[in-house]
Amino acid sequence: MEGVTEFDLAAVRRDFPLLSKQLHGRRIVYLDSGASALPPHQVVTAMATYQETTHANVHRGVYGTAEEATRLYELARKDVGRFLGSKSGQDEVVFTKNCTEAFNLLARSWGRANLRAGDAIVLSEMEHHANIVPWQQLQEMLGFEIRWIGITEERTLDLSNLDELLDGAKLLSITATSNVLGTVNPITSLAERAHAAGALIAIDAAQAVPHAPVDVTALDVDFLAFSPHKMYGPTGIGVLWARAELLNAMPPFLGGGGMIKDVRLDGFIPADGPQRFEAGTPPITEAVGLSAAVHYLESLGMEAVHEHERALTSYALSTLAAEFGSSISLQGPTDGPLRAGVLSITIDGIHAHDVAQILDTYGVCVRPGHHCAKPLMRRLGVNATARASFGIYNGTDDVDVLVEALHATIKMFG
C-alpha cells in the first residue's frame, strides 16, 4: 500500500482474501465490521511469519528468538501508543484478552482502589454492556452510585443535565461512537467538562479507533479501551491505554507469572508499568498481528479512511431514504460529521433476525440482535435491529446490494 495517497478502494479490497470468496453463489458483501473487521493478508502473514520464524515466550528466554519475540511484543506497545497519539506507548499500553477485559481491568483496578460508598460515576444509556456490567459488578461490592446520561430524540447524548451528573463524580466512562446508533460523541468537550468537575474520563473507542483519527493527547482523555479485531487485527487481544501516572498508581488486577517483581511465601511485589497488568503468557502472536494492523491503517492514513467511510455513510443514508422512505427506520442521528457508518435497520412487521436471514442469501453479512446494548434498546423501544456497519473495504456497490436484498425482504414478508 506504500505510496497510496488517494483512497484506492480496489487496491484495499485486494488486500482482503475473504472478499474474493462467494457466499451462496454471490459476491460476499461484508457489512459486519462493527462486530469484527476482516483482517488484511498483511496481518495474517505477519502472524504466520512470526510463528514460523520466531515463536517463543516473552520476557524470559535469553536465546535469540526469545529476545526477538520480546522485542516484537514490546514494539507492538509502541506501535499502538504512536497510533493513539500517546506520548509513551511503552508505559501506557496494556494488552488484555479483549476490549471487555480492558473495562474489567479498569473497574477492578482503578475503580476498586478509588471508589467508595457515597462516590459516583457517570455512564451513558448508549453504552455497550462492556462499559456497564463491570461497573455494576463493582457497585455490588462497593456500593457507589452510577448516574446515566440520557439520549435525545435525535439519538445523541442528552447533555442538558451534565453538570449535575458530573457534580462530585469521580469518573465519566463513555463510548466515543455508539455501536448501535453510529452517534459520534463530543469527547473533547466531555473530557473538558469531566476534568472541570474533578472527574477522570475513560472512553470506549472500539467503534472509533478503526474509523477516524483518535489522539489521546489532543482529546485529553485519561483512559481508552479498544478492540484490535475491530480494526483489522486479530481476536484474542484487547487494549487498555491509560495515562502513565494513573497506570503507575493502579494495583494489579489478575495475578500470576509475568506481573511480579518478586514472590515470597508471605506476599509478592508487583511489576512496574503495563506488565503489572499482564499475568501469564500474553497474546504474543496477536500483538504482532495488531502491529501489522496499525501499520496497515497508517499506510492508508486515518484521515483518508475517515473521509472514505463518511462519504459512504452519506451515500447509504440518502439511498436508503430515497428507496424506502418511511417503510424502514434507521436508529441513529441524521447525516453529518458526527454520524458514523453504522446503520441499525428496523422494518415494521419484520423482525431483524428475519431481515438478516434473507440478506444472507444475497451474500450480505449484517448482524441482527441487541448488539450488547440492552439498556439502549429498551430506550429505543425495539428488541432487535439489523445492523450494517462499514469498514475500509466497503463501497457504494455494497450499499446497492443491501438495497436489492432489503427490497426482496420486504416483498417476502409484505
Binding site: G349, I350, H351, A352, H353, D354, Q357, I358, T361, P368, G369, H370, K374, M377, N383, A384, M412, F413
Partner: protein, 155 residues
C-alpha cells in the same frame, strides 16, 4: 434460495402475521417467561392445566417469525392435550430439529424415527434444521413450555 423457502413456509408466515392464542392468562394459570439472549426474542407463556389437561394457553412476547410462529403453532397443538401428551410433543418436536436428549439415547440404540404426521402443522418448522442459529428461535417456546409444565403445582 430453496432452503430459504423451506424455512419461511407460508404456514409459518401465516402464524407470524396472525398468531393464535395471543395474550396472557390470570392466575391460577402458570406464567413463564423465556428469553433468547442471542437475538432478543421473548416468549411469555400462560398455561392453565385442569385435571391433567391443558385447558387454556396464551402466548405473548415479541421476536422473529420463527420464534413467534413456533409459539403460535405450539399453543394450537397443545390445547386440549394431556400434560403427558404435551411432554411427548416437546420431545418429538426437538427430535425433528435433531435435538434428541443425548442422555436418553443409549449407545447402539436404534434412533426412533420422528413421526412427522404426529406433529401436524408443526412439521412446517423442520426447515429450520438447515439454519443452526435459528434452532434456538424455534425451540424457545418449547423450552418455556417444558419449564411451565415443571412449575405446575402438584395436584
Amino acid at each position: 434460495m430453496a432452503d430459504l423457502e423451506e424455512l419461511y413456509r407460508e404456514i409459518i408466515l401465516d402464524h407470524y402475521r396472525n398468531p393464535r392464542n395471543r395474550g396472557e392468562l390470570q392466575p391460577p394459570a402458570v406464567r413463564v417467561e423465556g428469553f433468547n439472549p442471542l437475538c432478543g426474542d421473548e416468549i411469555v407463556l400462560s398455561l392453565l392445566v385442569e385435571d391433567g389437561t391443558v385447558a387454556d394457553v396464551k402466548i405473548a412476547g415479541s421476536g422473529c417469525s420463527i420464534s413467534q410462529s413456533s409459539g403460535s403453532l405450539m399453543s394450537a397443538a397443545i390445547k386440549g392435550k394431556t400434560v403427558e401428551q404435551a411432554r411427548g410433543l416437546i420431545a418429538t418436536f426437538k427430535q425433528m430439529l435433531s435435538l434428541g436428549d443425548d442422555d436418553a439415547i443409549e449407545e447402539g440404540a436404534e434412533p426412533v424415527p420422528v413421526n412427522l404426521r404426529s406433529l401436524g402443522e408443526l412439521a412446517a418448522l423442520q426447515g429450520v434444521v438447515k439454519f443452526p442459529v435459528r434452532i434456538k428461535c424455534a425451540t424457545l417456546s418449547w423450552n418455556t413450555l417444558a419449564q411451565g409444565l415443571d412449575e405446575l403445582p402438584a395436584s
